[in-house]
């Protein structure tokens, strides 16, 4: 990366704003953003699976706690959730070297916690909707084959629910990428944080923010393209026969 950047210096031709050091900053921001969003999405996805199954259960003690969780996280701004996680850890002053102190020393961890729980709440609802939309005939057929509830869940309901949830989940991924811009408010140098730094250093809002907007756009459309490809692969059976 450093070699590439020093080579880039010749092409920049003495540009006032986009120097080797600001480009390196944007690069670090890109790495931080992608890392934060990717890890939050993966853990959130893993959490949302059992949550969605619980949310679709008929037992009240399984269903309502998950409902309350998704309701609270979806009805309040992510910024507040981020602040609660960040200040919550920052002000407890745990002993040095403990697990809690890693949380309060590095804003990345509280941000990861808030983002993970937030995306888990949205994804749970997406999967719940997809599970509920399973056609009755499929369930009846599975029961007629003598499948138990858990086997039916594993073999019939979840595989088709995943496919139905795919387009909506793609939107959630893009939403999360955009929402992660607020990480810059809690001292994390993400893409938006890098853009803000460049703006305040050179007082050039247009190059600083338009460049970062383009980067986000490339990422968003990349994700969109990826999900389109996945849909083409996994939803073959829904395509019109020609």
């Amino acid at each position: 990366m450093d070699g590439l950047l020093s080579q880039l210096g010749d092409y920049l031709n003495g540009n006032q704003v986009f120097t080797v050091s600001t480009l390196a900053m944007y690069w670090q921001g890109l790495v931080n953003t992608v890392q934060l969003v990717f890890i939050a999405l993966i853990i959130g996805l893993l959490l949302s699976l059992p949550f969605a199954v619980m949310r679709s259960s008929k037992k009240a003690w399984l269903k309502w706690p998950v409902w309350a969780f998704t309701y609270l996280f979806r009805a309040t701004p992510l910024l507040i959730q981020l602040y609660i996680a960040y200040y919550g850890f920052a002000f407890i002053h745990p002993a040095e070297g403990s697990l809690l102190s890693t949380f309060s020393n590095n804003a990345l961890y509280p941000a990861l916690l808030a983002f993970t729980l937030n995306t888990a709440a949205y994804t749970t609802e997406i999967f719940h909707g997809a599970i509920k939309a399973t056609s009755r005939g499929e369930l009846e057929a599975a029961r007629a084959y003598g499948m138990s509830r858990s086997l039916m869940m594993r073999r019939i309901i979840l595989p088709s629910a995943f496919r139905r949830a795919l387009p909506t989940y793609g939107n959630e991924v893009i939403f999360m990428l955009h929402a992660s811009a607020i990480a810059s408010t809690v001292t994390i140098m993400d893409l938006t944080g890098a853009a803000y730094y460049v703006y305040s250093r050179f007082y050039t809002p247009f190059p600083a923010f338009i460049f970062v907007a383009l980067l986000y756009m490339v990422l968003s459309f990349g994700i969109q393209g990826l999900f389109k490809m996945l849909e083409r692969k996994l939803l073959v059976h829904q395509r019109p026969r020609s």
Partner: protein, 241 residues
């Protein structure tokens, strides 16, 4: 005098005023979003390829860029941009057009949120317009109504029934988006709570009531939407269609 449980270490009144400001930003951006959404939906459904391209470019731009980045661009860049335009007008007109437009956090925030939600509204309205029966418009035309009359008397009220659930969802998205104006320095309830939290090292005392504030606003708007739904569903039998 406020009761003790609403005092919040003296921040109670400021939190309340911040809540009103949140509501103001939300309502103003809803208005901007509804107008832009109607315009963009009409552009996307129009026969002119040029207008369709503008509508598509608008919604694509919004889908690709984070709300906070747009808000910062408008807030930090808006003043420079507006000044450049007014300076240019001043020099072109030889000094007759002399004006100064101030871009503060309130205008920048409301315009950005309205602009973003307008793109969401455009999709909602587009679907709703397509759901209105063509026969209704043909009947209006047969009665000799002018295009604008047909729009406001027939097309719009019939479309609203299909658009209301979408508008309700967009309103909730918008309401949460208003929290971002605290980042560009507007004293909404999030900003006041953030300041109070940092001054008092009390992470939950201020932030959780503000979160509840959002829940309350969302709950109250639910009632308004139920009333609107009843109004625009007049004459529709459930399970019809």
């Amino acid at each position: 005098m406020l009761p003790a449980w609403l005092d919040f270490m003296g921040y109670g009144p400021r939190l309340f005023i911040g809540g009103l400001l949140t509501l103001e930003v939300a309502l103003l951006s809803l208005l901007i979003g509804l107008v832009l959404g109607l315009l963009a939906a009409s552009a996307k459904l129009s026969r002119s390829a040029f207008l369709r391209a503008i509508g598509t470019a608008y919604t694509t731009l919004i889908r690709g860029v984070p709300d906070l980045v747009l808000m910062m661009l408008l807030f930090y860049g808006g003043q420079i941009g507006v000044n450049a335009v007014t300076d240019w007008l001043y020099s072109v007109s030889g000094g007759t057009i002399d004006m100064y437009i101030n871009i503060n956090a309130f205008t920048a925030g409301s315009i950005t949120i309205g602009f973003i939600i307008g793109a969401y509204m455009a999709e909602t309205f587009r679907g709703a317009f397509l759901a209105v029966e063509k026969g209704q418009m043909e009947a209006a035309e047969a009665y000799g109504m002018r295009p604008l009359q047909t729009f406001w008397r027939i097309r719009f009220p019939l479309m609203m029934r299909h658009a209301l659930p979408g508008i309700g969802n967009n309103w909730l998205v918008l309401l949460k988006m208003t929290a971002l104006v605290s980042i560009i320095g507007l004293s909404d309830m999030v900003q006041v709570a953030d300041e109070a939290t940092r001054a008092n090292h009390a992470p939950f005392l201020f932030l959780i009531p503000v979160a509840l504030g959002y829940l309350i606003i969302a709950g109250l708007s639910e009632i308004v939407f139920q009333w609107l739904t009843r109004r625009y569903n007049t004459g529709v039998l459930e399970g019809d269609e």
